[in-house]
Amino acid sequence: MEYFLELFLGGLTRGSIYALIALGYTMVYGIIQLINFAHGEIYMIGAFTALIVSGVLSMMGWPTLAILVIAAFVAVVYSAAYGYTVEKIAYKPLRQAPRLSALISAIGMSLFLQNYVLLAQTSDFLPYPGLIPDFQWLKPWEHVVRSTEVVIYLTTTTVMVLLTILIKFTKIGKAMRATAQDRAMAMLVGVDVNRVISMTFIVGSATAAIGGVLIASHIGQINFYIGFIAGIKAFVAAVLGGIGSIPGAVLGSLVLGWTESFFTGYISSDYEDVFAFIFLVLILIFRPAGILGRSESQKV
């Protein structure tokens, strides 16, 4: 039973991180129907920025909590800035082009960002400072759940709530929903579509950066390549939940996190990544619209 609980909580951790990344995918897809391949790279850049900032600050002798807050803040700002710039360079000129072109451009951007970090920083795995403090009240349950995991659950929940508020109740959220439904019509009623798209990239990248900081402190090491596989898995989660749907992305991420955790825990850990891909293929064959997605019939 204890093993089960451990796997359950481990799956919840994975799922929460996937959810933070999957949100960016699903928001961008909802608005411009593009799989933003570079999204995983944005998450990696967030983690790297936090590592660099916390490294500099800890050498200056700042207190741990201040370092954590500042590093996370800078990571969010930078990831958002990268997301914004990537959209302006690689996707905006291709709004009217065939979707295949935008997708290839996104792949190119992902390749570029990976190698940019590789060349400017290093190809080695870098140890990540453990910034999140150990909670004393968690001592009795330490063998099943670590305090970083508790922080991950709390942060993810907070981000989800804030995001739901942003989309449901603010003006920009309304504009986002309008643009996702019908871009031309939104433009006609006076929505600044370019601004809405930029905003979507900024919000999506910022949540990915939070995911990057959390997972890096949880696992304890990063390199330039972490974005790729995390990006793919978050994409699987977004598709599983129904791409374009925000609650779907969260649900899909949790389902993927749990299945992966139980699979590796009870069956085999060699084929962990294979399993995620097979899962994706099966969903797309049997329920392409995902758990919460509506299936759309193609109009001619």
């Binding site: 660099i52 451009s105 190119g108 390749l111 960002l113 140890p127 001619v300």
Partner: protein
């Protein structure tokens, strides 16, 4: 062009990029020795570089927009230069003869090292022509193409290891296995559209690689298979320099064969069906084209060439392991097609030669290779989606006397 407004804009762009690249380019933290390295010179380089590049960027964006307007106004009917060469027999046949003569003479006038590189380039030409069927003609973005290449390479390595089958026997087997795997992949993805298809094929490619890496009993795992024999010629064994030239010619013949078949395919009934499918799936079905069959033939005929060339790759390098077949290999093959021009055979050949030969001769830039490839994919899509040699669609023109 260089008025105050523009300079101000570029200045802001350069400030933005200096801000953006600051932590990753300038600071390097060594957490083990507790040292921080500040590389301020890079910040200056980024500033100046982005200031200048933003002018170039805006110039090309303006040119592109002007081009679109011109095409809308209907002035876009000039035939491109390459197309004119191809359709003028007086220029076309002599230049073809020169190229053939050069290709045949190449291994005798250059070193073994260069012949080897040229063989690699020819391998990519063939891979490019194969993926061109799937991506260029049928419009199905396949990011797992390298899986079929791996199937061919492992087919030769394993069949030779267990049953001592020779190169020439495995070559058609590799092609057949490629086609078979093409169909196996094709079935589940039949219903998927563009971007989903890309992700599933990517997943398929990674599944094959991960299985090869983990299934030690079958594929010898990450350590790979060594001592794969080079091809012979009716039991005759070559020395190393001779076999290099021999493989070069084998590849050359295969490439010519591929060009011939792909060219015939493109203008056949099935080739037209692929192009129709790429342009509009629904309209294509309405015209009575069997979507299932057309997609499956595209996948299997595209994969055939990868399976075949995989056998040659295993025989050439004599050692294979799963690390040669990562997703990035698929993307390099995709780069070949995108740079050359999707759907255009000549373009694919040029694309492969440029992409494989340039990094070999510009060794100083070798670590920037993938960075440049990524940049190239973005820039090509933004500014010249048709590639170096844009494929010209077959059009019918009415002349004044015909009409009257």
């Amino acid at each position: 062009m260089f008025n105050r407004e523009e300079i101000k804009k570029s200045f802001l762009v350069s400030l933005w990029f200096m801000f953006l690249t600051f932590p990753i380019m300038v600071i390097r933290v060594n957490t083990i020795y507790n040292r921080v390295e500040w590389r301020w010179d890079r910040l200056l380089m980024i500033g100046i570089g982005s200031f200048l590049l933003s002018f170039v960027w805006r110039y090309f964006i303006k040119r592109k927009e002007a081009g679109i307007q011109k095409a809308d106004a209907g002035d876009g009917n000039e035939t491109p230069l390459v197309q004119r060469i191809l359709t003028t027999p007086k220029i076309y046949y002599p230049s073809l003869a020169v190229i053939v003569a050069l290709a045949v003479a190449f291994p005798f006038i250059s070193s073994m090292y260069q012949t080897n590189i040229m063989t690699t380039a020819l391998i990519y030409v063939m891979l490019g022509l194969g993926i061109n069927i799937v991506v260029g003609l049928a419009g199905l973005l396949d990011l797992g193409y390298v899986a079929f290449y791996a199937v061919g390479a492992y087919a030769y390595a394993l069949l030779n290891y267990h049953y001592q089958l020779s190169f020439w026997i495995v070559l058609p087997i590799g092609a057949a296995l490629g086609a078979l795997f093409g169909i196996l992949l094709g079935f589940p993805v039949l219903r998927l559209r563009g971007d989903y298809l890309a992700i599933v094929t990517l997943g398929f490619g990674e599944i094959i690689r991960l299985v090869l890496e983990n299934w030690n009993a079958f594929s010898f795992g990450p350590s790979g298979i060594a001592n794969i024999p080079r091809p012979g010629f009716f039991g005759f064994k070559f020395s190393l320099p001779e076999v290099t030239i021999y493989i070069y010619f084998v590849m050359l013949v295969l490439v010519v064969f591929t060009i011939f078949v792909v060219n015939r395919l493109e203008n056949s009934r099935i080739g037209r069906a692929w192009i129709a499918l790429r342009e509009d799936e629904v309209a294509c079905q309405a015209m009575g084209i069997d979507k299932t069959r057309t997609k499956l033939t595209a996948f299997s005929l595209g994969a055939t060439w990868a399976g075949m060339v995989g056998v040659v790759f295993a025989a050439k390098t004599t050692f294979i392991n799963p690390a040669s077949f990562t997703i990035w290999e698929s993307i390099i093959i995709l780069c070949v097609v995108v740079l050359g021009g999707m759907g255009s055979i000549l373009g694919v050949i040029l694309g492969a030669l440029v992409l494989i030969l340039l990094p070999e001769y510009l060794r100083a830039f070798s670590e920037y290779r993938m960075l440049i490839f990524g940049t190239m994919l973005v820039l090509m899509m933004v500014f010249r989606p048709g590639g170096i040699v844009t494929n010209v669609r077959r059009t019918y023109k009415f002349k004044a006397e015909d009409a009257g």
